[in-house]
Amino acid sequence: MFQKYINSRCGIVRGLSFLVLLVILWSYFYDSAITEAVLASALRQSTPLALGALCGLMGERSGVINIGIEGQMLLSAFVGFLVSVWTGNLLFAVLTGVATGAVIGLLLAFMSVSLRIDQILGGTVINILGFGLTGYFYQVGLNTKGKLQSISLGPLQDIPLLGPVLFNNPPITYLTLVLVLVVHYVLFHTHWGLRTRAVGEHPRAVDTLGINVFLMRYTNVVLGGAIAGLAGSFLTLEAVGSFERGMTNGRGFVALAVMIFGKWTPIGSWGAALLFGLAIALQTQLQFGGQTIPHQFIGMLPYLLTVVVLAGFVGRARPPAAVGTPYTKE
């Protein structure tokens, strides 16, 4: 009976979330300011990971592996930064960042859907391109006129604990929360989402029904690219306010782990991203408090959990069946 409960994925996830919630509440009564600071930091750290994971899962759900998220993020971050330097208009800068992501997505789709080259290589090309181009064109001494500021949502901000954490954030952080719900709805509750998932599982069957497999894959990868572009814009235009070479620092790769942890679902990935973010924030807080627990231990936990998920310990993590295989019409 107990064994059965452990083996059901829902049981574990619910148990874990409940435990985390209890700890958060306990620490809130212990010291509210610190708890709010840690949770706000966790949400912030999770934002680029959640966006990256959304990009990854849109591609993979339609059958295209996207390992180039890191490069997409970096290039978008750079272009967004440049536009912000030149025009000083942050909204326009974010839009160009998103557009850059989409264009790189188009390139990836072209390589993996039309040219049918190995999708891992396609993504790697994008990563190398991202590091190379941004490293080469980045000039020192460029300065933006500012970054996206927090918008507090009026009375909602006065709710204890939730208010300062959730309702006093800069725009891209809000947008991420909305996007998670939108992608979830589109993927699981619309015709278009059903077709996307079908294309990722069995493209031949979908093709026989007269649905354009190539178009489905192109749209998904391009839209995913736009989301990765938003993640890049987050880094330069909202979080830091300036660009540094290689500033993504592997977040695009961690996003892949987050996506797998979330079992290729938007809400699951968001939860996983929050867990990764919380681990990073806790690492910092442990050091602030001068605790003697090695902070690397906390930092290791989400990766350890990813391995556990991958090993099939908590239910099975199954990628879409047709992922990685280019489709050819007969």
């Binding site: 840690v38 680029p48 592996i65 500012g146 306010g241 070479r245 500033m247 620092n249 930092g299």
Partner: protein
């Protein structure tokens, strides 16, 4: 599973990618021409921090004593030796290696290339080699002055430090000096500080981590942020600049000149005069008076710039008193 494995291989391959191009400088064989090569730590030569300062010292030597100069940027810690050897094998006379991380590779190279002189910035020499000069600094003293300034500026009684990795002793020295400097002014002050959890490869190049960490500290009441750790620390400074009524203190170089984005909060920087130190050592090499072992460079706080008239006179006097005390040994950092 197979796909994942391939992903892993590709990621590893990608991480290993590091392209290095160096032109063979034939002139370096000639005795009268002094060739100086510089190898950066992971990061770039224009990092607005210690790599840049060292390179400026090398550039100064080209302008003033006519050396031939070149630099190599290290992308991955395992390429330290490769990059150093490239210069040594091309008959460079002096090789400047920037950063604690290159210490081991530098002494190894010094044994292999005994006719090349090495300047190791931030590299403490436990066993002196005749052709290596370790340019080191009393970071604890620079940090002490930063901590004293922070404690005098703080109204909340909470000050923060956002640091690179504790695998690098100078960073640890900065932090410990900062804490004792703050306590020297106000024994009850709360200092919250954190090291980047990553290794040498990422700890100094992660501005977003620095920024969110600074935010986390500010949310808990910190009103002065000390950023010590390359662009990671810079992220923390820029974050502090976007909050009102907060101060921040830079590191290594006068960051007022290198990081304009931090101007709203940047009162001063805990500087190590790396540029001057590197230049002096190159000059000594030119005059064949190359010192071996440890060579101490100067440390101190940089000018206050726009904050000059906002800092009360008593704080300035106290800082001068501390600076003198540290120099003559009447104030200890520990």
């Amino acid at each position: 599973m197979c796909i994942l494995f391939r992903k892993l291989i590709i990621v590893l391959f990608f991480v290993c990618l590091n392209s290095v191009v160096i032109a063979a400088a034939s002139d370096c064989r000639k005795k009268e021409i002094l060739c100086v090569g510089l190898v950066t730590d992971v990061g770039t030569v224009d990092d607005k921090s210690f790599n840049q300062s060292a390179w400026e010292g090398v550039q100064q030597s080209a302008e003033e004593i006519g050396t031939v100069i070149k630099y190599l940027e290290t992308r991955d810690p395992k390429d330290y030796m490769v990059n150093i050897s490239l210069f040594a094998e091309n008959d460079y006379d002096v090789v400047v290696t920037v950063g604690f991380g290159l210490g081991e590779a530098t002494s190894q190279a010094a044994k292999q290339f005994s006719d090349v002189k090495f300047i190791g910035v931030d590299q403490f020499q436990a066993n002196a080699l005749s052709n290596v000069a370790g340019l080191i600094f009393h970071e604890d003293q620079a940090g002490f002055q930063a901590g004293a300034l922070a404690a005098m500026l703080s109204k909340s009684g909470v000050i923060a430090a956002v640091l690179g990795t504790n695998l690098v002793p100078p960073v640890v020295a900065f932090k410990e000096g900062y804490v004792s400097g703050a306590r020297y002014i106000n024994a009850k002050i709360q200092v919250i500080s954190t090291y980047h959890p990553g290794g040498l490869a990422v700890a100094f190049t992660d501005p977003e981590w620095g920024a969110s960490t600074a935010k986390q500290a500010i949310d808990q009441g910190a009103d002065v942020v000390f950023g010590a750790g390359g662009t990671t620390g810079n992220g923390g400074l820029i974050e502090a600049a976007s909050h009102s009524e907060k101060y921040c203190i830079g590191v290594d170089t006068d960051q007022w000149l290198t990081l304009p984005a931090a101007h709203p909060c940047l009162v001063s920087s805990a500087t190590k005069r790396i540029k001057e130190g590197v230049f002096q050592l190159i000059q000594h090499a030119k005059e064949s008076q190359f010192p071996s072992g440890n060579f101490f460079g100067e440390v101190g706080l940089s000018p206050f710039h726009d904050f000059d008239n906002k800092i009360p006179q008593y704080i300035k006097e106290k800082l001068t008193e501390i600076h003198m005390g540290l120099r003559n040994g009447s104030i200890k950092t520990k």
